[in-house]
């Protein structure tokens, strides 16, 4: 059963006096334990799609069903609750609370949900080990490097064992080596914990860690690539780059034809 199902998603908004169609009837499904990457040029609607499937924004049309909950019929408070328990977020700019330690940042969603933190100590320790920050839990964000902060953000997204993890340009603010570390962690959480993941990225290398890559242009899905899990990293990367080049040339032709 899919963990996320989006049907005929439309998003329009006003920019000054002009109406912009960010998404035009997108269908998007994520199966349980699947790792999907969404790629596309700026303005393609990839971030908008992420916001809608994560319940951060309301679509102008269409429907999102997340972990069995139809979001459009729910009130903001109910959507917030569902998001709290079923969605983990990783942002481009980490977004850790500077006043909390790494450990406290990780357990923040549990605190918001009124959980007894003592019961989650084991899980916390396991996540700290997963992200390689055992012994650093008392450090504040300003005592951690960019990569370490993003790892803490990742652990925060995983602490509630969410139905789906959504990442918006998780390597956008990191160097390539650190970015690789983050993507490898995401891959591990998918493989070892069965975590369903959707990553929005413009980085082909990051996208190559996914099981499936969806390509958006002008608010619509134009292409999809299924990755061969047994294939080498480099092969996956080459396929994605080829697809991007193909889409680019199609786009140039479309422009020329106007």
């Amino acid at each position: 059963m899919p963990v996320l199902e989006a049907r005929k998603l439309v998003k329009q908004y006003l920019l000054g006096k002009h109406q912009v169609n960010a998404l035009s009837g997108v269908d998007f499904i994520v199966e349980a334990g699947e790792f999907v990457a969404i790629m596309g040029p700026s303005g393609s609607g990839k971030s908008t799609l992420l916001h809608l499937i994560g319940g951060l924004d309301k679509p102008s049309g269409g429907e999102v069903t997340l972990a069995g909950h139809q979001l459009s019929i729910l009130k903001d408070k109910q959507v917030t609750q569902i998001r709290r328990r079923n969605v983990g977020f990783v942002f481009q700019f980490f977004n850790l609370l500077p006043t909390l330690t790494a450990g406290e940042n990780i357990t923040l969603p549990l605190l918001i949900d009124g959980k007894n933190l003592r019961k989650y100590q084991e899980r916390l320790d396991a996540l700290l080990e997963l992200i390689g920050l055992t012994g650093r839990s008392r450090h504040k964000p300003d005592q951690l490097s960019g990569g370490e902060q993003q790892r803490v953000a990742l652990a925060r997204a995983l602490i509630t064992e969410p139905a789906i993890l959504l990442a918006d340009e998780p390597t956008g603010n990191l160097d390539s080596k650190t970015g690789t570390t983050i993507m490898e962690l995401l891959r591990r959480s998918c493989d070892e914990l069965g975590q369903s993941i959707v990553v929005v990225t413009h980085d082909a290398r990051a996208a190559s860690y996914a099981d499936r890559v969806v390509f958006l242009r002008d608010g619509a899905i134009v292409s999809e690539l299924y990755m061969d899990k047994s294939a080498a990293q480099g092969d996956s990367l080459r396929r994605i780059i080829d697809e991007l080049e193909k889409l680019e040339s199609l786009g140039a032709e479309a422009v020329q034809s106007i």
């Binding site: 700026s42 971030s47 951060l56 924004d57 942002f91 977004n95 006043t99 923040l108 949900d113």
Partner: protein, 862 residues
């Protein structure tokens, strides 16, 4: 709760400057309310206690209704004692004398109630009966012998004895009308209860001794009455007072002891209303600072709140989070404010002591005042934080993903000008039509003030673009082309700008009010003082001064003229047919006009004619306060109660006189002697020959007669200097509050501009990217601040002038004081300049911050 506790404590600790700013706002408001409340209460209690202590447990006092300093026959004592309802009637003779060897004080004591020349107050008492009404605490020796009512004994206050190096057993020499007399000091009492009379310069001697030494045989000054328990309730006591008065007749006055304090408490009342109003304004500006600082915090933490919303914090949780932070700050700020309030009360009490000329009792912190301040402090903090908390809750999760923050303008900003216009129209109508009777004018004035400020504030958003266009040439001149960019920026966050301008407006208005009140009051007071002090030297004494002293002063070489003045209390039947006690100033018209002059307040006064009329007898000058209060004028008749009963006096003129809150009538010396049997002067005003040095003449007179006649001589310059100091100190606390209001306006600008800079980080980065220099960025922010400063300054000036006029009108209505409104032009320019300068200094930090923005970081975007 654990979540809120964790986030609250960490958030507050991580922003110490914000924490301090918010705390400052709360502490300011709470401290102002509490300190003023404590001071008012302490002053009121002290005043009432002083007068109560002199009569102690007495329920009523009987005095003569004639003003005869030699007292009344003690034969009345038995009649009072045997009256039904009276438990005890205790006689006393009250004398003002001097300790021999005690040099006359070299300076005149000063208070709002006049001037004093020290000396020793003595009560001649019945040692057995007097303790029934007055409590004496013996600290050394013993009390007066109970069975020897004419013994040569004296009991003094211990502090006074210490000052004069006297101990039990010593011989004390006092100056009496029978000559110098020695009395044996048999005991000392504590400086409490009656020991506080004359600030401790007080003693008791046996009644018969006092009567003999001061030629008062068979006479007493006062009878203290103790009522039987059944008559000690309010209504029963009042009926006893009325019936006893009626029984004794019009030659006697039966009064409540505390009524003697009414003059002071009335004076205090006016002052306290002003203080209370200002404490209310302090609370308002404190609340603004809290709102502003919390708004700042919400803007700074927009992404943080967006992230919390993303990971599942609900709107209510976010709102509650901010409110909990406000509660924590409110509790801490209130606690600190209470501490500061008690400290401030000490300072304010010192000022009150100067005003009253009275040492106040130890400050008692009334629990109800503490609770009120605490509740108000917490309530104001919460109210001020509600809007920022609600705005925080509205933050969308998407804000976590944005660099650029957005601000929404509510409908109050868009349509508030309609409400603002209505408020301004209504308040203007009330000001012009003034449909309410005078005794509620001040309350109405306060409401009008709030409506004015609110109306003006609500009009700001709609008029900002007009202000921008009007001030554009100045902006261009001062800041160049960049100025236009900066000044147009204030149209973007209109709610924030409006409130900042409003805070600055209140600060400037308060400063204008203080300046106008001080200048107006001082202007009129200076003018009046020149007449009241008059001449070149002011001579007074702790003892009454007769014609012989007058002649002696006139005989001094270099003295051109000497005129006596005598103040005493007299009853009159006011036009409302009520008996009221006022002051009578007796003067000798012939010599008075040689030394000084009255300031006539009626239109086209005939000063000489008025003085001639008074000199002829049966005519008086009334103060402008009495004239205003009772609608009296030249030619009207007033009834004064003399030795032989009511007697009409014609009003010959209306003069400016602030003595005794203006409740004073001036009449001739001859009338005083004839109708009120007073013969001595309180003071002599001396005019010296032009060209002679005042200080030298003062020395000369002091050497000739100072010690012999126990005179205190001061130049009128010195006295006027003291009065100025007294006035300055009284107004100083208003100055402080006004400055604090400006300071809050200052912090408001700092906060607002910093928020604006944060929100426009990307935009500023872009401007820098296309070539704007750091200096130009600074000028842009300064221009934005300048517009805030100018609008706030001009509006503050307008409302300040309106407000000060309302105050003056209210004072006239309530007290009869008719002050001439005075606000020099340079003060007006200074006010606007001050607002401008404050805006520039306040903008320097945010401008520096804006200039430091790194281009690449700022323009990073999705």
């Amino acid at each position: 709760m654990k979540l809120e506790r964790l986030l609250t404590l960490r958030s507050l600790r991580s922003r110490p400057l914000r924490l301090l700013l918010s705390l400052f706002g709360i502490v300011l408001g709470v401290a102002a309310i509490l300190s003023i409340s404590i001071t008012n209460q302490t002053a009121m209690e002290s005043v009432n206690r002083v007068f109560k202590d002199t009569s102690g447990k007495a329920n009523l006092i009987v005095t003569s209704s004639e003003i005869d300093s030699r007292g009344f026959s003690e034969k009345i004592l038995n009649r009072v004692a045997s009256y039904s309802g009276v438990d005890a009637a205790v006689p006393s003779v009250q004398i003002q004398t001097i300790l021999v060897g005690d040099a006359a004080p070299s300076q005149v004591g000063m208070s709002f109630f006049g001037m004093e020349a020290g000396g020793l107050s003595l009560y001649g008492i019945d040692p057995q009966q007097d303790p029934l009404v007055r409590s004496y605490t013996i600290t050394s020796g013993s009390f007066l012998s109970p069975d020897q009512d004419d013994s040569a004994e004296i009991v003094l206050v211990d502090s006074y004895a210490d000052e004069h190096d006297l101990k039990v057993g010593d011989a004390v020499e006092i100056d009496t009308e029978a000559g110098l007399e020695q009395l044996r000091l048999v005991g000392l009492i504590a400086k409490e209860g009656p020991g506080q009379i004359n600030n401790g310069a007080f003693g008791v001697i046996p009644l018969a001794t006092a009567q003999k030494l001061f030629y008062r045989e068979g006479k007493v000054s006062q009878i203290d009455v103790l009522a039987v328990p059944e008559f000690s309730g309010t209504e029963a006591l009042d009926s006893l007072r009325t019936s006893l008065q009626s029984y004794l007749g019009k030659d006697y006055s039966v009064l409540y002891p505390a009524s003697q304090g009414q003059r002071m408490t009335q004076m205090l009342g006016s002052y306290q209303i002003g203080l209370n109003f200002l404490s209310g304004m302090a609370l308002f500006v404190g609340a603004f600072l809290i709102y502003n600082t919390f708004s700042m915090t919400v803007v700074e933490r927009t992404r943080e709140f967006g992230m919390l919303r993303t990971i599942g914090m609900s709107r209510n949780q976010v709102t509650r989070q901010v409110l909990i932070e406000a509660v924590v700050l409110g509790i801490v700020g209130t606690a600190l404010g209470i501490g500061l309030g008690v400290l401030m009360a000490r300072g304010l009490t010192g000022v009150m002591e100067l005003i009253l000329g009275l040492a106040l009792t130890d400050i008692a912190v009334p629990i109800h005042a503490v609770i009120t301040s605490a509740v108000v402090g917490l309530a104001v903090t919460l109210i001020a934080a509600i809007i920022p908390a609600w705005q925080a809750g509205k933050i969308s999760p998407l804000e976590a993903l944005r660099i650029r923050a957005s601000s929404n303008e509510g409908c109050l900003i868009r349509f508030g000008w309609i409400i603002g216009s209505i408020l301004l129209l209504v308040s203007t109508f009330i000001l012009i039509m003034n449909p309410f009777p005078y005794d509620v004018q001040f309350r109405v004035g306060s409401m009008v003030v709030v409506m004015l400020f609110l109306g003006g504030t609500l009009l700001i958003p709609a008029t900002v673009s007009i202000w921008v266009r009007m001030i554009h040439p100045i902006m261009r001149l001062v800041y160049g082309n960049i100025g236009r960019l900066g000044s147009s920026n204030i149209q973007r966050s209109r709610l924030r700008t409006t409130l900042t301008v409003s805070a600055l407006m209140v600060g400037v208005a308060m400063i204008i009010v203080v300046w106008a009140m001080t200048d107006s009051f001082k202007g009129d007071l200076d003018q009046w003082l020149k007449g009241y002090i008059g001449g070149d030297l002011y001579v007074t004494s702790s003892r009454p001064m007769g014609r012989d002293v007058w002649k002696k002063l006139e005989s001094v070489l270099g003295v051109e003229a000497v005129t006596p003045v005598r103040y005493f209390e007299v009853d009159w039947i006011n036009p409302s047919s009520q008996e009221e006690r006022i002051s009578f100033m007796a003067f000798d018209p012939a010599s008075y006009s040689q030394v000084t002059s009255f300031i006539f307040s009626q239109a086209d006064p005939d000063a000489n004619g008025s003085l001639r009329a008074v000199a002829a007898g049966g005519k008086v000058l009334i103060s402008s306060v009495i004239a205003e209060k009772y609608g009296l004028g030249v030619g009207d008749s007033i009834n004064l109660i003399t030795r032989v009963g009511q007697r009409p006096f014609e009003v010959a003129g209306v003069v400016v006189d602030y003595f005794n809150q203006g409740l004073v009538i001036s009449g001739s010396w001859a009338d005083m002697e004839r109708h009120f049997r007073q013969h001595d002067a309180n003071a002599f005003l001396v005019k010296i020959t032009p060209g002679l040095e005042r200080a030298a003449m003062r020395e000369c007179i002091d050497q000739l007669y100072g010690k012999r006649e126990h005179l205190t001589i001061e130049t009128n310059q010195d006295i006027m200097g003291k009065v100025s100091t007294l006035m300055e100190q009284a107004f100083r606390m208003f100055d402080v509050l006004a400055l604090i209001a400006m300071l809050v306006g200052f912090f408001g600008i700092v906060n607002t501009l910093t928020m604006n800079v944060i929100e426009r980080t990307q935009e500023i980065g872009m401007l820098r990217g296309v070539g704007m220099t750091r200096g130009q960025v600074v000028r842009m922010i300064l221009a934005e601040a300048a517009l805030i400063g100018i609008i706030g300054g001009v509006l503050g000036l307008v409302f300040g002038v309106i407000l000060s006029r309302i105050f003056l009108l209210a004072m006239t209505a309530m007290s009869g004081y008719k002050l001439t409104y005075l606000l020099p032009l340079q003060r007006i320019f200074l006010a606007v300049l001050l607002a401008f300068l404050v805006s520039q200094v306040a903008a320097s930090l945010p401008a520096a911050r804006a200039a430091r923005i790194r281009i690449l970081e700022a323009i990073q975007y999705e």
